[in-house]
C-alpha cells in the first residue's frame, strides 16, 4: 500500500497546497491524521471543489457539515453565556475558536470548536461566576485542591459545564497563568477588544495572534499544535503582522510570537516578516513534536512528547510549586 506515512507532513502539505495532491495519495492516512489533529473540517474546506476519489469527496462533505453544526452550536453557547452575563454588565471577550467563527474569520472556516473560552476583567470574576451558576452552569470538578489551585495560580476559573446543554465554559481573567514568568497586560486586552454587534467582543487582531501563540507555546504541551499553528497562519494571512511585534513586546511575549511566526512560515509557508524567517536552533525540536503522528492516527515520538509535557508545567509554575504539583498528581495515580 505504498510507503507508510510516518509523520503528519502529509497533512501539512495538503493544507498548504491542496491542489498539489495526486489522486493516488494515501487518503485513508491523510484522513486519519486530520481527524487525530482536529483538522478534518479545515482540510475539507481546503479541498472543496478539487478532484478527489468519490468516497473521499463524500467524507469531506460530511466533515464540512459537521464543522457547520459545530459552528452553530458554539455561537449558540456564546449567545447563552451573553444572556446569562448581561445582568452583570461586564465586558465579555470571546477567545480562540468561538471568537474566530463569531467574527467570521478565515481561521474559523471548518474549524472544530471545543469549549467556550471567555475573558472577563479579573475584578468581575466573582460576579461572572455567580451569574453563570444562576443560569445553570455547574463546576466540573468539585474538588477543593483543584479549586484553590485554579483560583490562585491559573489564569482561569475551574471549568464549568451547563447542566442541560452539556457544554463546557472556561472563564479567563488573563491569558497566561499568574505563575508564569511573563505577565501579559490583561486590561489592555479588554480595552482594545473589538465589539461584535450583539454585546460580545473579540480581541483585536494583534492580540488574537499573541494569544494564539501564547496558548501554543507558553502554557501548552503542544497538544493540538498543528491546529493552533494553522489558526496563527490564517490570522496572519488575514490581518498581516503590522504592529504585532510591538504588541507582543508590550505583553512580554515576543519570544513566543516570534517562534509561532517562524514555525508557521516553516510548516505552512506563512508570509511573515524577514526577521521571523530564519530557523532558530530549537525550532527543529518543536517541528518534531508538532509532526509526531503516523498514518494510523497514532501519536508517535513518546520521548519528545514527554519532554514537552514536562516543559509545559515548568513554564506555568515556579520550580517549588511544580515539584509540589507533580508530587501530588503522582501520589494520586
Amino acid at each position: 500500500m505504498g510507503r507508510a506515512v510516518t509523520d503528519a507532513r502529509l497533512l501539512v502539505t495538503a493544507l498548504v497546497d491542496p491542489s498539489g495532491l495526486r489522486l493516488d495519495t494515501d487518503w485513508t492516512a491523510l484522513i486519519a491524521i486530520a481527524r487525530a489533529e482536529q483538522l478534518i473540517g479545515t482540510l475539507a474546506h481546503r479541498l472543496d471543489g478539487l478532484p478527489v476519489p468519490e468516497t473521499v469527496a463524500m467524507l469531506l462533505a460530511d466533515a464540512r457539515d459537521a464543522a457547520e453544526q459545530g459552528r452553530r452550536t458554539a455561537l449558540w453557547e456564546a449567545e447563552m453565556a451573553r444572556r446569562a452575563l448581561a445582568v452583570t454588565d461586564t465586558p465579555v471577550v470571546l477567545l480562540k475558536g468561538t471568537a474566530y467563527v463569531a467574527a467570521g474569520l478565515l481561521a474559523g472556516r471548518g474549524r472544530s470548536i471545543g469549549d467556550l473560552d471567555i475573558l472577563v476583567p479579573r475584578g468581575r470574576i466573582d460576579r461572572v461566576e455567580a451569574a453563570l451558576i444562576a443560569a445553570g452552569w455547574e463546576w466540573v470538578k468539585p474538588d477543593p485542591y483543584d479549586d484553590d489551585y485554579y483560583r490562585r495560580w491559573m489564569h482561569e476559573l475551574p471549568p464549568m459545564i451547563h447542566r442541560e446543554r452539556d457544554r463546557m465554559i472556561d472563564v479567563h481573567h488573563t491569558i497566561l497563568p499568574l505563575t508564569a514568568r511573563q505577565t501579559p497586560d490583561a486590561a489592555a486586552l479588554i480595552d482594545r477588544a473589538v465589539p461584535l454587534n450583539d454585546g460580545l467582543s473579540v480581541l483585536c487582531p494583534a492580540d488574537m495572534i499573541v494569544h494564539a501563540a501564547t496558548h501554543l507555546f507558553a502554557d501548552g504541551d503542544l497538544a493540538g499544535g498543528l491546529r493552533n499553528l494553522w489558526d496563527i497562519h490564517c490570522l496572519i494571512d488575514e490581518f498581516g503582522t503590522g504592529g504585532l511585534a510591538d504588541r507582543a513586546a508590550h505583553h512580554g511575549l515576543l519570544p513566543a510570537v516570534a517562534r509561532a511566526a517562524r514555525l508557521a512560515h516553516q510548516l505552512y509557508r506563512t508570509d511573515v516578516p524577514q526577521q521571523w524567517r530564519a530557523d532558530a536552533p530549537t525550532d527543529a525540536l518543536f517541528r518534531r513534536r508538532l509532526l509526531a503522528r503516523d498514518g494510523w492516527g497514532r501519536s508517535t515520538r513518546p520521548v519528545t512528547r514527554l519532554a514537552f509535557y514536562i516543559r509545559s508545567h515548568w513554564l506555568r509554575m515556579p520550580p517549588a510549586m511544580l515539584a509540589r504539583h507533580l508530587w501530588i498528581k503522582w501520589r494520586r495515580n
Binding site: W139, V140, K141, D143, R332, N333
Partner: protein, 144 residues
C-alpha cells in the same frame, strides 16, 4: 411559526365565524397555564454512544484517577483518606453492567449496604470530564 398548524386539530378552531363584518366568537379554546406535571418544554439531549447498548463495555473507577486514594463519604463526596464514617475506595473499577444492575436495585459486588449507597451517590454525581462519566451517562436511557 412557519409551516405549523394549531396543535389540537380535533378541537373547534378559535377563529371567530365572521357574520357580516362583526366577528362572533362561538367558543374560544380552553387554555390551562399552570399545574403542568413535568413542565411544558422538554429539550432533546444527545444520546451517548453506549446507549447503543452493545457498542461498548466500560468501567467506572471510584473515585476517578485524579483522586485515587480519597475516601467516599455517605453523600458520595470525596474526602481525605481515613476520614471517620467514610468508606475506603473499592479494590477495582466497577463494570458498566455491574452499575446498571445496582441502579436496578441490586448491590455493587463486594460492598455493604452502606458502602454501596456511598459509591452509588458518588457515581450519580459524576460530571463530564471526570473519569467514568461517559460510561455512567450511557447507562441511563433516556437521559434528561
Amino acid at each position: 411559526m412557519s409551516d405549523h398548524d394549531q396543535p389540537d386539530p380535533d378541537q373547534p378552531d378559535a377563529a371567530a365565524i365572521s357574520d357580516g363584518g362583526n366577528a362572533v366568537p362561538t367558543r374560544r379554546r380552553l387554555l390551562q397555564l399552570g399545574a403542568i406535571g413535568a413542565g411544558a418544554v422538554v429539550s432533546i439531549r444527545p444520546a451517548l454512544a453506549q446507549t447503543a447498548g452493545s457498542v461498548m463495555n466500560c468501567e467506572i473507577p471510584v473515585p476517578d484517577m485524579g483522586h485515587a486514594g480519597g475516601f467516599i463519604a455517605d453523600d458520595g463526596s470525596i474526602v481525605a483518606a481515613g476520614t471517620k464514617g467514610a468508606y475506603a475506595p473499592p479494590g477495582r473499577p466497577f463494570k458498566g453492567e455491574e452499575v446498571k444492575r445496582a441502579m436496578a436495585g441490586n448491590q455493587l459486588p463486594g460492598t455493604s449496604y452502606e458502602s454501596n449507597r456511598a459509591y452509588m451517590n458518588y457515581i450519580r454525581r459524576l460530571q463530564r470530564g471526570q473519569g467514568g462519566f461517559t460510561c455512567f451517562a450511557s447507562l441511563q436511557m433516556p437521559r434528561g
